[in-house]
Every structure is written in C-alpha cells, then in structure tokens.
C-alpha cells in the first residue's frame, strides 16, 4: 500500500477535491470558464445547474477523463492536473457513478465490486466486495448478473463498486434520476450516510434543485461554465444573488417594474430597489412570500385579489390568484390547506424577506 491509500479522515487538513480556475473548451465553445470549487473530506457538494452548463465536464476533468486546459485540480492536497500534466484516472483515487450505473454486464455482482478492490488475492478481493455489498444491503444478489437487478439494487451495487478502491473523492453524475420518486429518497439517504461515514469528498451533479437541497451540505449553482453562487440551501433559497439564482432555485412570481428613488412600486406594495432611477427591474416573489387574508380582514393598504383555484398539497395549498387591475395571475403557497376556495376574495400581504429585486437586464 502506498502512503495515500489510508482512508481515514483528518490525517491532513487539505480539501478532498480542489478545482481552481478550471477552463475547458470543446472546439471553440467554452464549456468551463474559470471554475473554482473546494470540497472537504466528508462534505457533500452539489453542482447544480441547467443542462449544458458544464456540470458533467467538471466531473470528467476532476476524474481525469478529460485533459485539463486551464487551471488545476488537487486531490487530497496533491496536484493531479494542470495544463500539460495529468495523473491518469486510475491513479487519482476518485470514484465515479453514473445515471445508468454502467455495471459491467459480463461480471457477476460480486465481481463487479471486486473489480475495483485493490491489493490481495482473488479471495480477499471477493471478501472485501462482499463486505461492501452487505453494508449496502445487496449481498443477497452477489452471484447474480447485473441485468436481473432492479434500478435501486443496481444503484447500490454501483455505489459499492465505486467505493471499493477507497476513493478520496466520489463523483456522482445524476445518480438517482433513474429511480422512481419513493425509492429515490431512501436510496439517497443510504448513499449519503455511507459517503459521510467514510468521509469521502463527494461531488454530485444534478439539475434538480430539490434534490440538491435534500442532499448537499453546500450547493454550487452553476451557469454557462461558472459557479454563480455557492452556499447552503438556506442561503441560496433565501438570499439569491442573481435573477438566475432566484428563479432556478425555487418557484417565483415575476413582476416587472421600474426603480424610483431606491424603491420599486408593485401592485403588491413597495420594495427596496437600490438601483439608478429609471432602471428597469424585475421583482421575484416566492409563493410563500404572499400572505393571504380573507376580505374584509387584513390591512386595507394591501392588494386585493380573487382566488382562481386552490390545490391542497398536504400541509400547504397552492393558490392561484387574479389581482385586481393586474392581468397575469400569481401563485401563493399558504399553510392551512383547504381553507381557500375559488371565487373567494382575499387581501395579499407581501413579505419583503421573500422577495428579491434584480435589474431586468439580468438573464434568468
């Protein structure tokens, strides 16, 4: 065993994965434009963004499947890639998991996992593989071929296989999107528990904001080859720094307006808008930022509206509203499900903490 093969965390403080100023282009199209990312051991970071924003390329560069063109990559404090230098993937100590799991069809489940176990004779490798399979609860399928397993079982086997060589970094490319909703939550939690326990630095790529919020210690929101905002789910949801972050990270009502004297007047009320006078702005309001009160209760200064439809979704209701004097309907999320009825008249109170104002020139 070489020095780096010991997996226990904390023998150094270096981040598990560090990507600094990574740039990449296919042909003439830039895919990554100065990507910076740091993941500590045991931390789970979600790379979130729309399709084509360069998420998968970041994983390929981190894994060493794509040569680096600009910037550098470090794994466990050791530089593994800079332009003109690249440690091949087999020596990087990264694990990879794909949406389609990519299990080897010609190998039994146990041999799929043993494929990645390093050192030891065949029996020892199989024993190690069996341990991993048992840990993930799929040791019962050890002698089966992958194609007879269900999606969730295949996912676990793929995870076991990726963990077999004791990776420092685990790279997951939309690993749960092949599973149905109910199964997904369970598999997701089990996966994360194992990864945390083994203090693996995990980079997970997804285009699903909800999934990112469920899984990540930290979310890196990505767009057009760059990370536009990074932080906890709460930070991104409550304090988006751009129109893109606000709209990608959750449902919003969008109202156009003009900045005037540091504020913007909307049909729902006035919000702070620290922009030049006359600047076109766009107001993003989360559905839960609209408080509803049945008329004639509530503050007479609030906007009035009529309920078009109300959908009870368990603990909350989604309420579609037509505001007086405004054509575009808005959506409110309200607790106390079932209280609202179509045709009912309400007053709307705007919560400034759940509303964000950005210049209209920012692309969503």
């Amino acid at each position: 065993m070489t020095e780096g093969d010991n997996v226990t965390a904390g023998d150094n403080k270096a981040p598990g994965l560090l990507m600094a100023g990574v740039g990449h282009r296919y042909g003439r199209d830039p895919v990554l434009r100065g990507l910076d990312l740091e993941i500590a051991r045991g931390e789970i970071v979600c790379l979130l963004g729309p399709s084509g924003c360069g998420k998968s390329t970041s994983l390929r560069v981190a894994a060493g499947l794509e040569p680096i063109q600009e910037g550098r990559v470090e794994i466990d404090g050791k530089e593994v890639a800079r332009p003109g230098f690249s440690v091949p993937p087999e020596h990087r100590r990264v694990g990879l998991m794909f949406q389609d799991y990519a299990l080897f069809p010609h190998l039994r489940v146990v041999d799929n996992v043993a494929f990645g176990v390093r050192g030891g004779d065949k029996a020892a490798k199989r024993r190690a593989a069996m341990d991993l399979l048992a840990r993930l609860g799929v040791d019962g399928y050890a002698q089966d071929f992958p194609h007879v397993l269900s999606g969730g079982e295949q996912q676990r086997v793929a995870l076991a296989r990726a963990l077999a060589p004791h990776p420092v970094v685990m790279l997951l490319d939309e690993p749960f999107s092949g599973l149905d909703r109910r199964l997904r939550n369970q598999v997701r939690n089990d996966t994360l528990d194992v990864l945390r326990e083994l203090s693996v630095a995990t980079l997970l790529v997804t285009h699903d904001a909800e999934e990112a919020m469920m899984m990540a210690d930290r979310i890196a929101l990505m767009r057009a080859g760059m990370i536009v905002q990074s932080g906890s789910a709460v930070e991104l949801y409550e304090r988006p720094e751009s129109a893109f972050a606000a709209s990608f990270f959750g449902d919003v009502n969008i109202i156009d307006g003009t900045a005037e004297g540091g504020g913007v007047i909307t049909p729902l009320g006035t919000l702070a808008a620290p922009f030049q006078d006359g600047c076109r702005v766009r107001v993003f309001v989360r559905p839960e930022g609209l408080g509803l009160t049945p008329e004639p209760n509530g503050d007479a200064a609030d906007a009035t509206a009529e309920i078009i439809a109300s959908h009870m979704l368990g603990p909350v209701s989604l309420v579609r509203l037509k505001m007086d004097g405004v054509d575009v309907p808005v959506t409110a999320r309200s607790e106390n499900g079932g209280r609202w009825k179509a045709g009912q008249r309400v007053r709307i109170r705007l919560d400034p903490a759940r509303s964000f104002v950005f210049p209209a020139s920012q692309e969503i």
């Binding site: 060493g64 499947l65 087999e90 794909f98 077999a164």
Partner: protein, 577 residues
C-alpha cells in the same frame, strides 16, 4: 445472409455527455490509419464508378448494340419476379407464425430460415437436374401418361422465370426475418386498439400491422434484390444473360477490362437505385413504439382446415427452398459415392475443401481485425471524416462480387505493370505479376465485399461497452490496456466470433469474385461446383455444393438462437447478429 444488420444495426445513439473525445497524438494516428484503411477498402468501388467516364471502346460499342438490351431486360424481369416472390412468401409466412397458433408452428418458425443456407447456384443446379427433360419430374410424367417428346408442354427451368423462381425460394428468408421481427415488435395494444375501432383481423393486418412493418419489409425486399443483382452462378447455369454473366464473359471471353468495368458500373447503378429506393420507402417512417406496454401476442388459434392450410403455406417454402434442393444434392452425392471406384475424386474434394476453409478463415480474421480497427477509430475520435470513411467501407455489402472483382483487378494490374516496367527500365529485371492473380488479391476482394458484415457486428457489440463503463473502469484503477483487456474483450469477444463466423460462411459461398480473381488452377468448393455444373456434371457438382450448404447451416442456427432470444418483453439477447 448477415447483411441484414446493415439496415437494422445502426449503432445506438450515444447521445450523452460522456462521449469520449479526441485526445492525444496517438489516437489521431489511429484515426488516420482507420481512415486510410477505409479508403483502401473503397478503392474498388471508386475504380468501377470512375469507368463511367472512360471513353467507350470497340468492345463496348459491340456490347451496346448486341447484348446490353437483353442484360437490362433480363435484370428487370429478375428483379420484378424475385421481388414479388419474396414479398409474398416472406410476409405471409411471417404473419402466420407470429400471429397464429397451429400445430408445428414452433418448428416451422425456425425452419423457414433454412433456405438461407442454400446458395443460389446450389438450388439452380438441383432444380436444373430435377426439372430438365431428362430429370426425374419430366421422366416420371412421360412414364405415367405414356407421353413422348413433343406431346406435352413443360415450363423450361432454364429461363428468366426459372431463375426468378429459384432465387425467390432461397432469398425470401430476408423478408421473412425482418417482417417477423417487425410483427413481433408491434405491441399488441396497437392491434387491439385497431380491433376496438372496428377492424376485423384481416383489416387490422392490412391497415395497421402491414403499414407498421413496411420499413422492415422494404429493407428485406431490398436485401433480397441486391442478392439477386449480384447472383452469378444461378443465372449463368440457366443461361440467362445478365450483367454478372456479361462482366464475366467480357473479362475472360473478350479480354476487355474497360468494357467489363463499364458493365459493372451500370450494374452498380442498379444497386444504387435499390439503395436509394430502400431509403426512400423507409423514409422518415421510423416508427417508434408509442405504447411502452408490451404483451405477448394473443395468437389466433387456427383449427382443422385452416390449421392445415397454414401448415402447408409455411412448409411449402421450406420444402421448395431447402428440402428439395438439399435432398437432390444428397441423392446425387450418394449415387456418385457408390459409383466412383477410386478415391481420386474424393481426394480432390478434400483439397478444394482445404482451399475454401483456408480462404474463408483468412478473410474472416482479416475482416474482423479491420472492423475492430475502424470501430475503435470512430470510438476514440468520432470525427465526421472517420465516420464517413467507415460508412463507405461498409458499402461493399451491396456491391456484387463480380463488380468488386473487376474493381480489384484493374488497379492491381495497373500497379503490377507499373512496377514491372519501372523495374525493367531501371534494373533490367521483371517482377512479373506480384499482386493480381494471387491469394492477396482474393483476400482483399473478400474484405471489401464482406467488411460490412463484420463491421456491423463489431459496432453493435462495442456499443454495449458504454463510454461510462470506460470511465468507471479507469477510476477503479485500470489503465487503458487493462480496461480493454478486462472490460472490452470479455464483452465483445463472443460477437467477434460471430462476426468471424458470418464472414467465414459468406466467403465459403462466394463464387464470382473467386472465379475471376483466383490464382491459376486454384480451386475452391464453390468454383469446383461451378466448373462441374458448367460441364453438365451435375452429380459430381453435388458434393462441393452440399458441403457449402452444410457450412451455411451454421449461421442459420446462430440466427435462430439470436432471434428467439431477442424478443421484446424478454431479457435482451446477448448475441448480436
């Protein structure tokens, strides 16, 4: 037979972001090599096409004024007759075995593939023997009714009609296979909706199942017709003048390569029309399954007379396309065995068999290696040029063997002559013929002709190794070499064997290119059968012909295993044909 893949076996789209991309000089070198090989393979086709622009010579004018019209008319009649024959036989039997239940269905289902094992010249020899004036059929009729010559009319088997009939008997399995697969794929739900919308069984066949299967049927008919165009042995034996016999005659009889190439170019134009026609008739009609629910087809249960009729309909093509010709050959072999006293004939047969096996094995190995080279070239660097070159290299399957022979011989002869005259001028020595008339030339022609067979099989199997698997293997500690050895090789090696086997059998059966390109006095089974049959020694020709039929049974067996496995709603078959 394995050409079926060409139209079906498009490699599945790899449209996900993990596509491997070009990197490193060595991979560019590999791709360059792949492109070079692909172009080399395309040379014969390009040479023949190029002859369209060569000014017509004396021989050509002679041909044009005398026989060209009959070549065209005969070819059109053949295409017409075989087209109708294979459509009727193929579609009706495919429909019966997929949609109906009757005793013996399971046996008939794979039995209908058997005629694929019979090369057209073999059925032609046996039918000539059976239906000639002196054959058992006419003799029997005369004895029975007491007729003598001139008392009765009997269709002449040695005619365009006869050729079309025997060709249809052995070529219908192309349509049968593809139509059967198409019918099986159709979800029963679609048919059931048709029934609920007021269509009876017959109407739902004609208005739903048949149109849905149309692309597959068109492909099957096109494949059968390509085989018809490239047939040499059957038409030559029946004395039907077509382009393939014309090329042979012009080359050997009139000794005019330019005119032969021009004939080849016209034949190629026919092939091209077929290819385009097939594309057009498939058109954008790539029917996708709108219903993802798949249920086993509820077969109509046939009883009594109907069942007997269905059995007869399915048994007839097997009888006429396999049992009758195969049986006749077997009888002849038995007769010659008991007659021949010495083992000189048997000894020579072994020698021809050894030649055939050697050629077939060599060509199969080369075709698989070249296919691997091309497939990996495209995989490592999916450059449009590499892809295009690979496609051109795969076109040989559509080109008749005689055309390829001409396309190989013309440039090789030029090369030999150039080298020879240069050596003579510079060193005063003669190199003679280095390439033309050698095994090398023959191998080259085989690879050009059958590369598509191996290429499709290799491509399909390589597609099973997804790029994601490469990525996983690399991160699990395997270098590139270990990845190929431990992931690629085990996954694709069964398919490589299949590919080699398919090329092997195709080469065993190949006649016209071998006849034109073989070294002097070098005989194979197919050539020997042809020579004996040309001398009207049909009985003696039976032994080599039967050996070829026996070899042809191997891929038929493989094919029947593969299609019984690869059925929607079941686990995917791993054999790719």
């Amino acid at each position: 037979m394995s050409e079926i893949d060409l139209s079906l076996g498009r490699s599945p789209s790899r449209g996900f972001p993990w596509l491997p991309r070009s990197r490193g000089q060595n991979m560019r070198g590999w791709s360059a090599l792949a492109i070079f090989v692909a172009l080399l393979v395309a040379v014969p086709i390009l040479v023949v096409c190029g002859h369209v622009f060569v000014p017509a010579g004396e021989v050509w004018r002679h041909l044009a004024s005398t026989v060209l019209a009959s070549y065209i008319v005969n070819t059109l009649w053949l295409v017409f007759g075989v087209g109708i024959g294979v459509f009727v036989f193929g579609v009706s039997t495919a429909w019966l075995v997929t949609m109906c239940r009757f005793p013996g269905r399971a046996v008939l289902e794979w039995g209908l593939l058997l005629p694929l094992a019979v090369p057209a010249y073999a059925i032609a020899y046996s039918y000539a023997g059976l239906f000639d004036y002196a054959g058992p059929v006419q003799t029997g009729l005369r004895d029975w009714f007491g007729w003598s010559r001139g008392d009765y009319w009997f269709p002449n088997i040695r005619s365009v009609g006869g050729a079309a009939v025997v060709l249809a008997f052995v070529l219908y399995p192309y349509v049968y296979m593809l139509a059967r697969a198409a019918f099986l794929e159709q979800s029963v739900c679609v048919i059931e909706i048709g029934r609920t919308l007021g269509r009876g069984p017959w109407r739902s066949f004609t208005s739903i199942a048949l149109p849905l299967a149309r692309p597959a049927i068109a492909t099957g008919v096109a494949l059968a017709l390509m085989e018809t165009l490239s047939d040499f042995g059957a038409v030559q034996h029946f004395g039907v003048a077509t382009f393939t016999t014309g090329i042979y005659r012009t080359w050997f009889g009139l000794g005019d390569p330019a005119a032969a190439s021009q004939l080849a170019a016209i034949l190629l134009a026919f092939v091209f029309v077929l290819l385009v026609g097939e594309r057009l008739s498939r058109g954008r009609a790539q029917f996708h399954h709108t219903s993802r629910r798949y249920r086993e087809l509820p077969r109509y249960k046939l009883r009594g007379g109907w069942a007997a009729l269905a059995i007869a309909a399915c048994a007839l093509p097997i009888l006429l396309g396999f049992l009758l010709p195969g049986g006749q050959l077997l009888v002849w072999v038995g007769e010659t065995m008991s007659e021949s006293s010495g083992d000189s004939l048997g000894g020579r047969l072994w020698w021809h068999t050894a030649n055939s096996l050697m050629l077939a094995a060599g060509a199969a190995a080369i075709a698989v290696v070249v296919a691997l080279l091309l497939a990996y070239g495209v995989r490592l660097n999916p450059h449009p040029v590499a892809k295009g070159a690979t496609r051109i290299a795969g076109l040989g399957y559509a080109v008749p063997g005689s055309v390829i022979a001409v396309g190989v011989l013309v440039p090789l002869a030029w090369l030999d002559n150039t080298l020879d005259s240069w050596l003579r001028a510079s060193f005063g020595v003669s190199s003679g013929l280095l390439l033309s008339g050698t095994i090398t030339a023959l191998m080259f022609a085989y690879v050009v002709r059958f590369l598509a067979v191996s290429l499709n099989t290799v491509d399909a199997s390589l597609a099973k190794v997804t790029p994601a698997m490469d990525g996983v293997a690399r991160t699990l500690g395997m270098g590139p070499v270990a990845t190929v050895a431990r992931v690629h090789v085990p996954i694709i090696s069964p398919s490589l064997l299949t590919a080699a086997l398919l090329v092997f059998v195709d080469v065993m059966k190949e006649l016209p290119a071998t006849l034109i390109l073989r070294p002097f006095d070098f005989n194979t089974l197919a050539v020997r059968a042809f020579e004996l049959a040309s001398d009207e020694q049909l009985r003696a020709a039976a032994a080599p012909a039967l050996a070829i039929v026996a070899a042809g049974l191997v891929p038929v067996a493989l094919l029947s295993v593969a299609i019984s496995r690869a059925r929607p709603g079941r686990a995917q078959g791993k054999v790719s044909l």
